[in-house]
Amino acid sequence: MTLTEAPAPPAPAAPPPAARPRRRGRFTPYWLLLPGILWLLVFFALPMVYQASTSVQTGSLEEGYEVTWHVAAYWDALSGYWPQFLRSVAYAAAATTLCLLLGYPLAYLIAFRAGRWRNLIMILVIAPFFTSFLIRTLAWKTILADGGPVVGALNALHVLDVTGWLGWTAGDRVLATPLAVVCGLTYNFLPFMILPLYSSLERIDGRLHEAAGDLYARPVTTFRKVTFPLSMPGVVSGTLLTFIPATGDYVNADLLGSADTRMVGNVIQTQFLRVLDYPTAAALSFVLMAAILVMVTFYIRKSGTEDLV
């Protein structure tokens, strides 16, 4: 139904080009692309330009803004909010690592060991998505509540002493500490790690495992030399899908954290929606975007999977 509006239906595939005359359809691809690409240009690319220009403007809400090529906003943004920047990267890195450590066994389980339970486990991984993530994040307030069973258990096992010494928790509390924020981030983005991991593990030919066993590799060696290297595409896209949204997130830091766990997303949100200091907010957001693009490019180069994008 959606496609019948297309100016001309697409002619069959290009592969055997000699087979039919190509009169029709010279402009078809451009007509097909036009509306969607225009949408992305106007509402995704153009806003980036506006944001870049806002970040070098000066003025106030009352008098209006003017482009003055004042780069002071960048200086203010970086000198005033570098702790939030560092914190965002650190929390996101911690959450991504935890997602990988927690997600890998589950993805492995679904791919190789679940048998007839595979579909059910898959459904259970995806189904929580249908409950609004804000409601589920609020549930962590109950789970990690002061004096609750989780905090009690961690206290009894002296885990809180260790995390307190590391600065991850404070006193007898888990809520309103970095640990709670990282826990929430890990929880929220875990499925984005599991699904790509699963799809790359699932493609591995089971006979490779048998072959490794036949060549006297122990299970650990098989994993290290066969399974894990073959799952690298999943690891790379999973870490990207976790790290990028986690860096920009402000929901977890706001709901589960405190003033000491504010991330760069919180600052951007406050500056934009409450303080209305648009130049600083735009500069912050621009720096975040640039930082992420640089990190992602570097990471993709390093892990050698350019064909990913």
């Binding site: 239906p9 692309l33 189904a127 929580p128 609004s132």
Partner: protein
Amino acid sequence: MAFVNWLKRNLVVIAGLLTLGYLLLPNVVVTVFSFNKPNGRFNYTWQRFSTDAWKDPCGVAGMCDSLALSLQIALWATLGATALGTMIAFALVRYRFRARGAVNSLIFLPMAMPEVVMAASLLTLFLNMGARLGFWTVLIAHIMFCLSFVVIAVKARVMSMDPRLEQAAQDLYAGPFQTFVRVTLPIAAPGIAAGALLAFALSFDDFIITNFNAGSTVTFPMFVWGSAQRGTPVQINVIGTAMFVVAVLFVLVSMAVGNRRKRRVA
């Protein structure tokens, strides 16, 4: 010793199931607390069992309105993103054209951008244009960020399609339009449906981009966010639980139907 060996063999299974538990624990809490009767404004500590909230799910001012608005926006955003995305996907798979690389990166970039950056930059655009924030700005934003996901889903399906099926249809004197409607579209349908479902879920649950561009319009996630500050009514948990149950039932039923159909064909 036998136990240690068993443990060694099943370590992955145990770790995996623990992770599954971690993923499901909040849903369990949401469900249990939908039967709570809290003393104060916040529904964070267990007091006593009650089915009050389930008997009156819309008893909170504004909540069901926000739910209806979210459904409406998600529906329109799904239609828009699916139409635009499917067209792009067909163009990418079926045709050669200039600037393919640029088009590919324009589709990839929104997915590689933190939501808060897209949200903030879109807001600067709307402010500069003097647009009034509300239903339309939210809808525009949702179509924008759902689009790429639809393209990816449809592209995967169209790519795995055998072009000879369409050639066969044309050899049997089907015109281009007939070929498209009776052969191409039915084969691409699962991909389009997957893309549409994804778009619906993304739009319905979006908070960050909506928060920046909604003005005073309140979608369901915005309502939940606001209630986290003002006091969380039990009804939020009722809605959360109901959505979870409906989703699981929907998947189970569609799987059962699919299985039966497969068996009949075989």
